[in-house]
Assembly symmetry: C2
Homo-oligomer: 96 residues x 2
């Protein structure tokens, strides 16, 4: 399994627009065959700090996702509402 954690800071005035766009991205991404989990999350410590937490079967699933219409059109819209860069870290799950 591969996990992607995308963290972003969203100004308070953009928060509702951000969540409305993210709702569509979450629904369409979670429906993809290669996806295991896909969710939008808000920090309990800082309401401007959001994290999209994604579990994918493998890299092919991620490559497919990154080419989808919903990803290519919605992520830039989300990024526009962010304060600074979107931090994206990709992890390999250690299977014990």
């Amino acid at each position: 399994m591969i996990k992607i954690i995308a963290t972003m800071s969203v100004k308070a005035e953009n928060s509702e627009d951000f969540k409305a766009i993210a709702k569509e991205l979450v629904a369409k991404s979670a429906a993809e065959e290669g996806n295991i989990s896909y969710s939008l999350n808000v920090s309990q410590n800082d309401p401007s700090c959001f994290a999209i937490v994604e579990f994918w079967k493998d890299q092919a699933a991620i490559d497919f996702h990154n080419a989808t219409e919903h990803f290519t059109t919605l992520l830039p819209k989300l990024a526009e509402l962010c304060d600074g860069e979107v931090g994206i870290e990709q992890f390999d799950t250690i299977e014990f």
Copy 2:
């Protein structure tokens, strides 16, 4: 659902010991009734960067977890093998 993302940097020479201890923590934590997902993950960009990604039903499940013997004994051992602080962020999942 509540998600916890714990990130930590582990020196290369400590990596195997770290994974051996984490293996026990992952197994026992994932077996808890209130846990949904619990995994150890390593960054694809930086092999010294690890993330424990945890999905919990609610705060009560987290409180129970934090009082378990495996958590209270194993987390300090993991922290000793880390380079600097363990970063812990707790998120509320946005249910659309």
